[in-house]
């Protein structure tokens, strides 16, 4: 029993050390990315290529998630507002939840699973097939050419997709409100713009989405570049990247909900 307790403690300790080491490596990578983020060293063509690719890649899943999540909020809230005769507050309730929390959070998770995982797999494959060494052998800095454009591409994609996702989610919520309790689109819109939702609520969600984009971008680039061990190694890196991104998103969400007004 004592041995098994020791083994348990040892495993916990090893896990903490491992996590600290990974976070340290990610911070080092961040430093190197920031160092290369001057306009002169930035490959703008690659950034545009990645932005286009990431937006197209993530669009279908973001559309589906946003429409349904907005509708689900209304499905949950509709019986309550109906019971109290407060149908006019449905727009405010849905808007408040979507703009501050659901929109940024769900979009980040979708982008993490779709774009972040793909980015890790892409970079990991380039590492194990010597493509990264190939760039270095051609006197090209892999961080400048491969990582920096992807890093900013993910942050920008996630931020823009969150705006798009917020609008779609509200549209889905309005449709559901009309179908479930007969609230008109106009009534729903008045609920959102009636003064209870302020610009700071929109900003709150956008700040969160940029922060989530930062986590997804850094995590996916780090695990992609740290890949070793051939094709199975790529799979391991993708898994680690998605887990780290999801954990990071929720932890950051918790703290930002306190810090950001």
């Amino acid at each position: 029993m004592a041995l098994s307790n020791a083994s348990f403690v040892h495993r916990i300790g090893a896990g903490v050390v491992d996590l600290a080491s990974t976070v340290g490596q990610m911070m080092t990578l961040l430093g190197r990315i920031l160092q290369r983020s001057t306009p002169a060293r930035f490959d703008r063509r690659e950034l545009l290529r990645h932005l286009e690719f990431m937006a197209i890649e993530s669009l279908p899943i973001v559309v589906v998630t946003a429409l349904f999540s907005g509708a689900i909020v209304v499905i949950q809230a509709a019986p309550v507002v109906q019971r109290f005769g407060a149908e006019g507050l449905l727009g405010w309730g849905a808007g408040f939840g979507v703009l501050r929390e659901i929109g940024p959070l769900l979009t980040a998770l979708m982008i993490s699973g779709r774009v972040g995982a793909n980015n890790t797999a892409d970079l990991g494959t380039m590492v194990v097939t010597e493509q990264v060494d190939g760039l270095r052998a051609l006197a090209i800095d892999p961080l400048e050419y491969l990582v920096v454009p992807r890093f900013y591409g993910i942050i920008m994609t996630l931020s823009l997709m969150t705006v798009f996702s917020d609008l779609l989610a509200l549209f889905g919520a309005a449709l559901a409100g009309q179908a479930l309790i007969g609230l008109s689109m106009h009534g729903f819109y008045n609920g959102i713009t009636g003064g209870l939702i302020e610009f700071k609520d929109v900003a709150h969600g956008l700040i969160k989405s940029a922060a989530f984009g930062f986590i997804v971008a850094l995590s996916s680039c780090h695990f992609g570049l740290a890949t070793s061990g051939g094709a199975p190694g790529v799979g391991r890196s993708v898994k680690a990247s998605v887990v780290m991104s999801a954990g990071g998103i929720f932890a950051l969400d918790y703290f930002l909900s306190f810090v950001v007004p």
């Binding site: 493509q131 190939g134 052998a137």
Partner: protein, 251 residues
């Protein structure tokens, strides 16, 4: 001129988690304009040696020098300048999957120089013709066979006509005719340009006739460094067995 003096390289052994010597006490000198054949059994450290020369792996001990530049201690900028003078074809080809064949071949040309589009087109067409792949410009690497990838990798490594060529198994997976053509092409181009070439290949029948000198690497140690004729007459049983491809012996 390439000079290696007591070179040692250590890499992390992923299975054991410690760092192990992959190259030890390597001393050779390759004069300018020489085709140097680097041969040896699998996992002997041949690819590691090429990557070390290109500055992709750290020099743990000794010296690796190219035209007076100490690769192990070169500053980033110095290393970048050096790499612009190196053409390298990797064992796994290292073709960029997201770029077409012509974009792959033109990549070093576009990134390191400022050619016009016409110049790039002309150069790429010439390189593709030289490796007998005309008409493959718009194909993507994942759609190519192993041999075709090798030829594209060779075309990319040579498009800037670099003074130093590091070729890692450039003919692996090629049919005998294409393989012979590739070796003939290497010899013709290296001799015409006066470049230095270190060539790793397991195809000794085609490699040895074009080499000026040869090195035999076994388990990270250079067992032989000299002319092809001396290698064939070597008194070292391991060198003799490998150069003659004998199934029985110490290897």
């Amino acid at each position: 001129m390439i000079r290696l003096d007591s070179l040692g390289v250590r890499l992390v052994d992923r299975r054991r988690g410690d760092r192990r010597w992959v190259l030890r006490d390597i001393t050779i000198a390759v004069p300018r304009g020489c085709i140097y054949g680097l041969i040896g059994p699998g996992a002997a450290g041949k690819s590691v040696l090429l990557k070390t020369l290109a500055g992709l792996l750290p020099v743990e001990e000794g010296l690796a020098e190219i035209d007076g530049v100490n690769v192990g201690e070169a500053a980033a900028l110095e290393l970048e300048v050096l790499r612009r003078r190196i053409g390298m074809a990797f064992q796994n080809n290292a073709l960029f999957d997201h770029l077409t064949v012509s974009e792959n071949i033109a990549f070093p040309l576009r990134r390191l120089f400022t050619p016009t589009d016409d110049e790039v087109r002309e150069k790429v067409a010439e390189r593709l013709a030289s490796v007998t792949l005309p008409g493959y410009e718009e194909r993507l690497p994942p759609g190519l066979s192993g041999g075709q990838k090798k030829r594209v990798a060779f075309a990319r490594a040579t498009i800037t006509q670099p003074p130093l060529l590091l070729l890692d198994e450039p003919a692996a997976g090629l049919d005998p005719v294409t393989s012979q053509r590739l070796f003939d092409l290497v010899k013709r181009e290296v001799k015409a340009s006066g470049a230095t070439c270190i060539l790793v290949s397991s195809d000794l029948d085609r490699l040895l006739p074009i080499c000026d000198s040869v090195g035999v690497l076994v388990h990270g140690s250079m067992l032989f460094d000299g002319t092809v004729e001396d290698a064939k007459r070597s008194s070292d049983e391991r060198v003799y067995q490998f150069v003659h491809g004998l199934p029985d012996g110490p290897l």
